[in-house]
């Protein structure tokens, strides 16, 4: 293992969003990599839904997720019962640290020294690789994009395409330096080299760790969606498979999976379906000749049960992690995934991460948006992302007296001067006489208006007050 992988790449100061955004915007290569990739994904998604009743399908997807959330505790218990009956061991973790300890304990009990991993955003959330390496267990990513990102000592910049920020030349140089492959712009050659390197690792790995796309309570089935086959390798070749997932990933029935799968693959990469849809319902039976002898599921809460308490914030938990919101986000496309400094970037990250790290730490996330609404329009399960961004903006300044803020770290952006200005504003608006007098005076004195208005005029010209108030103009028109 190279030395970088033991340095934890996650410990980025989330609050330093603005300097990172500045640097990303000034990097034409990075912007080109993202622009090209996101444009491609947008048009592929559009083509994939051609001829389908997308709105009805989204409605169904949203309702299935809402129904699962409405029954969440029952479904989790049913899932546990079914999985246990099938021979899969179920573990529960309050937070990422506890989940890491559970994975490590399973490894230690098996005397496992090497772990091979399929793609799992929850394991990124847990910072599992770093934890395992600190405890002397090697963790190797096997999804090609994750493998590249791990070689570079970085974190994923997109939840579906982790290495999308790099172009072929950069990846070729990285693989040459770290693994000794020849420098080449031939993607086939680079892919074949990675296949060779990873096949050896699959054969020698003691444990395979993956995420889960859907956990079906009815049958006790863990579903994994993938194109490469590394997920199948990870869940089949090592003698022990550990799946980690958020508690919100459970659905009631196998039938529920059908529309969610149709929405997920089309929204994510514009595919009718991925190459592999892998459904795991138990470890190897005595008469079977391959497959893991042990299968574990770690159910991770990590803030989800707090999100669950609030009717509006709850919608965050509908997410099926397709990444369409980031593909269509004008901010994400320009600044890239690393700028956010969080496990989940883009719009879904902006509404999910404040719960995981607190609104004080994630204070810039809800405002890193133009509220254009694209994310909400493309979301396959109709999460009202723009509304949730507004809600979190209010929470970050404690701005809604009627609905007291709840999210951890709320009020972190509340400033005395700003609060005072708005207080005055609302006081004036409740008094028509004073309002008319005030606006008339402001219109008269508009020449004295300052040209610079702090952050507002950093990238914009200052708005100019009109010479007459709207009330005055309406009056003139009506005469």
């Amino acid at each position: 293992m190279n030395s970088e992988s033991s340095a934890n790449p996650h410990h980025i100061d989330v609050k330093e969003f603005h300097p990172r955004a500045q640097a990303a915007i000034a990097d034409p290569k990075l912007r080109q990599n993202f622009r090209r990739a996101m444009d491609g994904l947008i048009s592929k998604r559009k083509d994939a839904f051609e001829g389908m009743d997308l709105e009805a399908l989204r409605e169904l997807g949203a309702n299935i997720r809402l129904r699962a959330l409405a029954n969440l505790p029952d479904l989790l218990e049913q899932l546990e019962t079914k999985l246990t009956a099938n021979g899969i061991k179920v573990h529960w973790a309050i937070d990422g640290d506890e989940a890491c300890r559970i994975v490590r304990n399973i490894c230690v009990a098996r005397n496992a020294k090497t772990v091979i991993k399929g793609k799992s955003m929850v394991s990124e959330e847990m910072e599992l690789n770093h934890y395992l390496e600190e405890h002397g267990i090697e963790a190797l990513e096997s999804d090609l994009g994750e493998y590249i990102v791990q070689l570079a000592g970085e974190t994923p910049s997109h939840i579906i395409m982790p290495a999308i920020h790099k172009n072929t030349g950069e990846i070729s140089e990285l693989m040459h330096e770290k693994t000794g492959t020849d420098l080449s712009s031939d993607v086939e050659y680079l892919t074949a080299s990675a296949r060779q390197q990873l096949r050896e690792r699959f054969m020698n790995a003691d444990v395979g760790v993956t995420g889960v796309n859907f956990a079906v309570a009815e049958t006790g089935t863990l579903c994994l969606v993938e194109n490469e086959g590394n997920g199948r390798m990870t869940t089949t070749v090592p003698p022990c498979h550990i799946a980690v997932t958020g508690i919100e990933k459970v659905v009631g029935t196998l039938e529920d999976v059908v529309p969610l799968l149709a929405l997920l693959t089309r929204s994510a990469t514009g595919q009718h379906i991925t190459t592999y849809f892998n459904m795991i319902s138990g470890p190897r039976k005595p008469e079977e000749l391959d497959g893991p002898e042990e299968v574990h599921l770690v159910l991770v809460d990590n803030g989800r049960s707090s999100i669950y308490q609030d009717d509006e914030l709850l919608d965050t938990l509908r997410c099926i992690r397709c990444g369409a919101c980031m593909n269509h986000c004008p901010v994400y496309t320009r600044v890239g995934g690393h700028t956010y400094g969080t496990t989940y970037p883009g719009p879904i990250g902006k509404i999910l991460m404040p719960h995981l790290i607190g609104l004080d730490e994630g204070r810039h996330l809800p405002t890193a948006s133009s509220l254009c609404g694209a994310c909400g329009e493309v979301c396959p399960v109709k999460i009202p992302i723009p509304d949730l961004l507004v809600r979190l903006r209010q929470e970050s300044v404690d701005g809604d007296k009627l609905n007291p803020a709840k999210v951890r770290g709320h009020g972190a952006k509340r400033g005395t001067l700003e609060a005072l200005i708005w207080k005055g504003w609302s006081w004036m608006h409740a008094r028509p006489g004073i309002y008319r007098f005030g606006t008339a005076v402001a219109a008269r004195l508009r020449m004295l208006q300052p040209g610079q208005l702090g952050g507002w005029t950093k990238y914009r010209t200052a708005p100019k007050l009109a010479n007459k108030t709207l009330h005055q103009k309406m009056k003139e028109r009506d005469q």
């Binding site: 009743d53 506890e98 590249i148 490469e228 089949t236 190459t275 592999y276 849809f277 497959g291 049960s305």
Partner: protein, 217 residues
């Protein structure tokens, strides 16, 4: 309190109160009735769009067609099911241009390096296919274990045209999956692929580079 109990308790004592359960209308998944020929056409078109290959065969012709497919690729050996009719037909065939036939009849631990490094191709049965998404349904068995369709660079799958369903939804209901699932079930829709390097498609990244479907009509 255990993590399990404290999570479940938090969820059950939700401060927002009980959530309403919405109705789920699955009618959007319904498709017009289609003929076998239409389903074959859609299946072929869809799986070919993701680099899969389809050969139309009869019960008498498929062994000869398979021999041609494999010799065109210089395959030296073919992993076949031990008990399934497909394996039996191949072993009893008088076709002399078939490659060496291997059977997966030992636990993986005893021959893993050989499977990973020396087996050129495999042939498996399927539990049917899905026209809309160009998918094969595989339920690995002791006779056709999980790695058979994953590790060799060429995977050949035999699909009975009569077992081609219009949609995943239809297949799942017709085969009553909800009544019990095997340890591992798969939908396979094309060869292994990745677009992780600058969105350029490359095949065979971890699984088979080629997926060849013999449709028996």
């Amino acid at each position: 309190m255990s993590a399990r109990d404290s999570i479940l308790q938090r969820l059950r004592n939700r401060s927002g109160g009980e959530l309403s359960v919405p109705e789920c209308d699955f009618s959007v998944l319904q498709r017009p009735v289609s003929s076998v020929a239409e389903r074959i056409e859609q299946f072929q078109k869809t799986i070919e769009s993701v680099h899969g290959e389809v050969h139309s065969c009869t019960r008498d012709s498929w062994v000869a067609q398979l021999a041609d497919i494999l010799s065109a690729r210089d395959a030296r050996c073919l992993l076949v099911p031990g008990a399934h009719e497909i394996g039996r037909r191949l072993r009893e065939s008088e076709q002399d241009d078939l490659p060496e036939l291997l059977i997966y009849d030992e636990p993986i631990e005893s021959w893993q390096p050989h499977l990973f490094n020396n087996v050129d191709a495999s042939i498996t049965s399927t539990r049917g296919g899905i026209a809309e998404t160009g998918s094969l349904i595989l339920w690995p068995t002791p006779d056709e274990p999980r790695l058979m369709s994953l590790v060799p660079p060429i995977h050949i799958a035999v699909l009975e045209a009569s077992e081609l369903y219009a949609t995943f939804h239809e297949a799942m209901q017709a085969q009553i999956w909800a009544s019990g699932m095997p340890t591992n079930a798969l939908l396979v829709s094309g060869p292994s692929k990745t677009a992780d390097i600058e969105q350029t498609l490359a095949y065979g990244v971890h699984g088979p580079k080629e997926l060849i479907v013999l449709v028996i009509e």
